[in-house]
Symmetry: C2
C-alpha cells in the first residue's frame, strides 16, 4: 500500500472512514425522520460511494451521470434537473428506471405521451426551478402526467444562505410545507400523488419534522466541505475530501502549488467566511503554522499564503493537503479518488469526471 505522500499530485483524497461515518449518520437521520433516503450522486459520481450511501435508489444531475451509474448497477434513479422535450429520447434510452422532472405543463404532456415516470418540481423558496405550490400549473402538470406521476419534488438550496441552525430548521420546515401543500393540491384535484421528495444537506441535517414527506435527497454530506462546516452542517473532523498537492515554486511569503482552478475550482462560496479557495494543512491533516490557505488561482497553479504570521518553510517538492470550499465542484475535476485510511492509500475509486 502506497503512502499518501507517494501519490502523484494533484490527487483527490477520500477518507474512507469519514465517508462511512457521514453515510451512516444520514441513514440514521432519514430513519429517525421516517422517510426513505435517495442520495444525490452529483457530489461523488462514484459507485463505491453510492454503495456506502445506501438508500432506496439514487438522484442524479445529468443524463451522462444516469447512464454511468446505471451501468454500475444503480438502476432506480431520479434525474432531478428540469428536463426538456428534446432530451426525452435520451432519457428513455438509459437502461434504468429513470424518473424525470419538470415544472412545465407542455413538457409534462410530452413526458406523459412518452410514458416516462416523472416528478413535478416545486419551488420552496430557492427561486431556481419549480412552481409555487399554489400555482395552477402544478395540477396541470399532474393531469398531463396522469399515471406516470411519481410525486412532487423540491430542493431548498437557499438553506445555504442561512446564518444559524435555527434559520436552517426554518427553511427545512418551509421546504416540507411547500412540497406537502403541492401534493395536497394535486390530491384535491382527484389525482394520485404518491411521492413527496425534499432535500438539501443543511435541511436534511437540521429538519425537525418531515411529516407528509416520503423521501429525502441530499448529496454533499457524503464528503462535506469547508462551506458546509462553516454553516453548521458538520464538524471539522467530518470533511472527507481533500486535494493532495506539491509545492512547485517558493517565494517570499508564498508557495505555489500544482493545484489550481482545474483541481480546486474557483468556487468562492467562502467569501462570507474569510474567503480563499481552500484551507492548507500538512499531508496528514495536521494544522500548519500561520494557518495557510489558497488565496489565488491560475489554471494549474494555486498560491498558498499564511492567514496569520509567517508561512512555514515549504521547499519545492513538499506535499500539502488542501481542504476545498465546495466538495461537489472540486471532486468534479478528477476522474478517480485515492482512498485513504489512517494515512495509507488503500484503494482507488473511479468517478465520472465533470
Amino acid at each position: 500500500m502506497a503512502r499518501l505522500t507517494e501519490l502523484s499530485t494533484p490527487a483527490a483524497l477520500v477518507d474512507r472512514a469519514r465517508v462511512e461515518a457521514n453515510c451512516a449518520r444520514m441513514k440514521a437521520r432519514a430513519a429517525a425522520l421516517g422517510v426513505a433516503l435517495r442520495p444525490h450522486l452529483k457530489t461523488a459520481k462514484c459507485a463505491e460511494v453510492a454503495a456506502l450511501a445506501g438508500g432506496v435508489g439514487i438522484t442524479v444531475s445529468t443524463l451522462e451521470e444516469a447512464a454511468w451509474l446505471a451501468a454500475r448497477g444503480y438502476r432506480d434513479q431520479t434525474y432531478a434537473v428540469g428536463i426538456t422535450a428534446d432530451k426525452l429520447d435520451a432519457a428513455a434510452a438509459i437502461d434504468a428506471d429513470l424518473a424525470v422532472l419538470t415544472d412545465d405543463p407542455d413538457v409534462a404532456a410530452a413526458i406523459g405521451a412518452r410514458g416516462l415516470p416523472a416528478w413535478i418540481e416545486i419551488d420552496s423558496g430557492q427561486d431556481r426551478g419549480g412552481l409555487r405550490p399554489d400555482d395552477a400549473r402544478v395540477v396541470d402538470c399532474a393531469r398531463a402526467l396522469g399515471a406516470h406521476l411519481r410525486g412532487v419534488l423540491t430542493h431548498a438550496g437557499h438553506s445555504y444562505g442561512c446564518d444559524s441552525t435555527d434559520a436552517v430548521a426554518g427553511v427545512a420546515e418551509a421546504e416540507r410545507a411547500a412540497a406537502v401543500a403541492a401534493a395536497d393540491a394535486i390530491r384535491a384535484a382527484g389525482i394520485e400523488c404518491p411521492g413527496v421528495s425534499v432535500g438539501s444537506t443543511p435541511t436534511a441535517v437540521h429538519a425537525r419534522s418531515l411529516d407528509g414527506v416520503t423521501e429525502l435527497r441530499a448529496g454533499v454530506y457524503v464528503f462535506f466541505d469547508r462551506f458546509q462546516h462553516a454553516i453548521g452542517s458538520c464538524g471539522a473532523d467530518d470533511l472527507a475530501l481533500s486535494v493532495l498537492a506539491s509545492v512547485v515554486s517558493r517565494r517570499d511569503g508564498a508557495a505555489w502549488i500544482d493545484a489550481g482552478t482545474l483541481a480546486l475550482s474557483s468556487e468562492r462560496s467562502m467569501d462570507r467566511f474569510g474567503g480563499g479557495y481552500g484551507a492548507v494543512t500538512a499531508p496528514d491533516g495536521a494544522p500548519l503554522p500561520g494557518d495557510p490557505h489558497v488565496d489565488a488561482l491560475n489554471q494549474v497553479h494555486g498560491r498558498v499564503v499564511a492567514r496569520e504570521g509567517a508561512l512555514p518553510a515549504l521547499a519545492v517538492g513538499s506535499k500539502v493537503r488542501v481542504w476545498p470550499n465546495h466538495a461537489c465542484i472540486t471532486a468534479a475535476m478528477f476522474d478517480a479518488y485515492d482512498v485513504i485510511d489512517d494515512g495509507v492509500v488503500v484503494d482507488r475509486w473511479p468517478r465520472l469526471r465533470g
Copy 2:
C-alpha cells in the same frame, strides 16, 4: 449534418473558421516578430486545434496532457509548469521529446542527473513561479543542468491586469527584457543558453519587439474569450468557443439554463468589466433583446437575466448560446467540441477533459 439546435445540451461549440483565422493571425505575428511559435495546448487540449495552430512544437500544462497529445503525434513538447523531483520518472516515461521547467537548483540537479532537457523559469513580473533574472540561482540552475539546458522561459501573466494596449506593450517589453537578461547572465557564466521563450496571449498580440527572444508561447488566442476581448486582445467576432444551452425553467425576469458551474466554470475574471459568468445570445450568435447574461450559477444550473430592460420570451426547451469569460476553464469542462461552420455542425473533436 446536424443543425446546431439539434445538439444535446450543454455542448461546447467551436467555430472552425474563427479558430483558423485566430491561428493564422498568431502565426503571422510570430513570423513578423522573427520568433518560432510554440502554442500552449492548455486551452484547447485537442489534436485538431494543435494542427491548426501549427508551430515548432507545443506547450503543455500537465503530464497527462503531455501523454495524451504525444499519443496523437505531438512529440516536441515543453511542460511549462515547475516540476518536482518525484515527477521526473513520469515525465521521462512519456513517449515524447519533453522538456521540463524549474526555478530550483536542487530540482535542476535532479533533472540534470536524469538527463532530461529543461528550461529555467524566470519571473518577469507576474510573481508566480520563476527567478528574477539577476538572482544567482539562475546560473546555479544552468550549471546544474549543463548540456541539458534548453534555455530560459517566462510568462507575463500580469498582462491580464492591464487596462490599455500600451500597458500590455509595456509588460511585453518587461517580459522580453527579463528573459534576455537571464539568458545573458547564463552566457556570461560561460554556459550555453540556446533558447529564450516568452509568451502570454496579450503580450504576444501587443509586443513591439522580441529582440533576443527565440520562441513565443500563447494559448487562449486559439479561441479567445470575453475577458481577452475586454482587455483588447481580439475583436468580438474572433471568439470561437461558446456553450449551447437549453432553458429548463422560466420565471418572472429570469430563465434557468442547463449550463452551470460544471459547464461554464465559476471564473469571475469579468468582475472588473460588469461581472457575470457569460454573455447570452441567440443560438446563431445574434444579440437578444435586454443584452442577457448569466448572473448566478449552481452545479448544473445557470440563471439568465437581462442587463437592460426585459428578458425576451425564452420558453422551456429554447436554446441559447453562452459566451464564456475564460475559454481555458470552460473548455476544460467538456470532453469534445462540436465544431460548427456557418451554423451547421460539421465535426466533433475529442479533447482531454480537465
